[in-house]
């Protein structure tokens, strides 16, 4: 009878804890969406931020966030992929490998403000890149690399050893086995890893305040010359992102509708991250089906 009673008590507690987690999540999401969504409008998305008056939008911040994210992923993905392949497929299990893994773990818990200050000193000052998108992207790469690397490594390690053996027993080289068999099999996991880290990057503010800057320059979306100072593609221009914008209007902002702007921006940020998540999941499933030919089942 004791076992039965204890089991019941444990079950009740587990349900309570789950309920707490769900309540907190739903509370945060609900609060952000309920206060923000009514203020999200096409006008808000398509007009630039105003400095003094009410009614400004976040067009440039939204674009900057996406642009920074793309640049960051473009820089960090090849590096993280290479490092993860090394760690999971080539590295021997010795103290060097363990040191590398520990360093990556430590780096992944590095406070983003520290990464931001480091980026400020190295890229902004030392490399003389100034407050710019490229400084921000490099700082975010530093911030993103450890997590992305360990996410991809986990995805690779999730591929059963028997798949590697199958490839090798068929006379495929190590690299051919990795490229043709292990990587496609790990692809859904890798994509999930990219999305998880992308969400973090997209919402990051602290690492960007001192690197990408807090001011938006005048951007011309019809200027495709990436070297022109007004071009939206120019990576040397300072760029405020959505997350930094939220921080700014709440600290130094003098616009009268600061609360509305930050609520709407928060909602936008959350929605974009959710879209990323679902989009990448759909993409991952699609790619997996294509690669494994299971769509014609």
């Amino acid at each position: 009878m004791h076992a039965k009673r204890n089991d019941k008590i444990a079950t009740v507690f587990i349900y309570i804890f789950v309920a707490i987690v769900i309540c907190i999540l739903a509370g945060i999401l609900g609060e952000i969406l309920i206060t923000g969504l009514p203020h999200l409008s096409w006008h808000f998305l398509s007009s630039s931020a105003s400095s003094f008056q009410a009614g400004g939008g976040v067009r440039d911040q939204l674009f900057n966030s996406v642009y920074l994210l793309i640049l960051t992923i473009a820089i960090s993905l090849p590096i993280a992929l290479g490092a993860a392949i090394y760690l999971s497929e080539y590295a021997k299990d010795n103290w060097i490998t363990n040191t590398i893994r520990t360093s990556i773990e430590i780096l992944s818990s590095l406070p983003s403000i520290v990464v931001g200050l480091f980026g400020y000193l190295l890229f902004v000052i030392q490399f003389n890149l100034g407050f710019s998108i490229i400084s921000g992207a490099l700082a975010l790469t530093f911030f993103n690399l450890p997590i992305l690397t360990s996410n991809i490594e986990q995805a690779l390690e999730g591929v059963p050893q028997s798949q590697r053996e199958a490839g090798q027993a068929l006379g495929l080289s190590n690299w051919k086995t990795i490229r043709g068999i292990v990587l496609p099999a790990a692809l859904p996991g890798i994509l999930t890893g990219i999305v998880l880290s992308a969400g973090r990057v997209f919402g990051e503010a602290a690492a960007l305040i001192y690197t990408a800057g807090q001011s938006g320059s005048t951007i011309d979306y019809s200027n495709w010359n990436a070297f022109s100072p007004t071009s939206f593609l120019n990576v040397m221009r300072p760029a405020e992102t959505l997350a930094v914008h939220i921080w700014k209007v709440n600290t130094e902002g003098i616009i009268p509708d600061a609360t509305i702007v930050s609520a709407a921006t928060s909602a936008l940020l959350v929605i974009v991250v959710i879209i990323f998540n679902f989009g990448a999941r759909a993409l991952g499933n699609m790619l997996y089906r294509k690669l494994t030919a299971s769509n014609t089942k």
């Binding site: 199958a166 027993a169 068929l170 006379g171 495929l172 043709g180």
Partner: protein, 266 residues
């Protein structure tokens, strides 16, 4: 157990023109100190099925995996493996080419998460075979040889993972023989299969016997007696007896072999 080295061994030998593959004093050490295999010298007759039997940990799988150098990264393999007069256990041997000549099928079916067709063509394409007609032809030949063609010919572009375990294992055999190897190493190929699939797999192996030399590790003594011509008995890293299968099972010479055959241990 400590005087196994003094235990008499009964090892059948073949004349060199009958041999497809042989080993001389093959020893395997893990981590440099733990010896799993002691000076195994065995010859495998061409176009025959040889079964390797023995209890868990007897070293039969370790031995099998050494033959196509799959143990290279995890263990030290000493001794000679003679294939076409060449010692293929030398460091300068191209193991990738070697493995195309000595195919392997594993305990658990491990088809690639690709289509049935691609499971077979992937390695061929990696090898430079691009002619689509030729590839289609090899796919059909290999699947027919593995007795899988009739079951899958209408769904070649569907996922191999949708096949049953037995079909997956025969696909793995088809995938191995698509490379036209001379030797097939089978590491307990039926142990993950149900009796019906096992029977089908055994039929397939019997049909392949005339064209391939097969070395098969098995836990299942009935299976060994059903389909193999020769049987080697492994015990704690030593081969104690190697003879025609019927002799090993009906008239074992060694006392440990006899005990194992009678089911006293293992």
């Amino acid at each position: 157990m400590d005087d196994l080295k003094k235990e008499p061994t009964y090892i059948k030998t073949f004349s060199s023109d009958e041999l497809a593959l042989s080993t001389k004093n093959l020893s395997v050490l893990y981590g440099g100190t733990i010896q799993k295999l002691f000076n195994v010298s065995l010859g495998f007759k061409k176009n025959a099925i040889t079964a390797l039997i023995g209890a868990s940990g007897s070293g039969k799988s370790t031995f099998l995996r050494s033959l196509n150098r799959m143990n290279d990264k995890v263990a030290t393999v000493k001794g000679n493996i003679i294939f076409h007069g060449l010692d293929v256990n030398k460091p300068n041997i191209n193991v990738y080419e070697l493995r195309k000549n000595i195919g392997m099928v594993f305990q658990k079916p491990n088809p690639f998460p690709k289509s049935i067709r691609e499971n077979i063509t992937y390695t061929l394409k990696a090898d430079g075979q691009k002619d689509k007609q030729k590839l289609d032809q090899i796919v059909e030949e290999s699947l027919r040889a593995a007795a899988l063609w009739d079951e899958v010919k209408d769904k070649l572009d569907k996922s191999a993972l949708a096949l049953s375990g037995g079909q997956q294992q025969r696909l793995c055999i088809a995938r191995a023989i698509a490379l036209k190897p001379e030797i097939l190493l089978l590491d307990e190929p039926a142990s993950a299969l149900d009796p019906v699939s096992t029977a089908k797999l055994e039929d397939t192996l019997k049909q392949l016997r005339s064209r391939y030399t097969m070395v098969m590790v098995t836990h299942n003594m009935q299976q060994a007696s059903r389909i193999s011509e020769y049987t080697a008995f492994f015990h704690l890293g030593h081969v104690l007896e190697y003879d025609v299968t019927s002799n090993v099972f009906t008239n074992p010479k060694g006392r440990i072999t006899e005990k194992y055959i009678q089911g006293s241990f293992g």
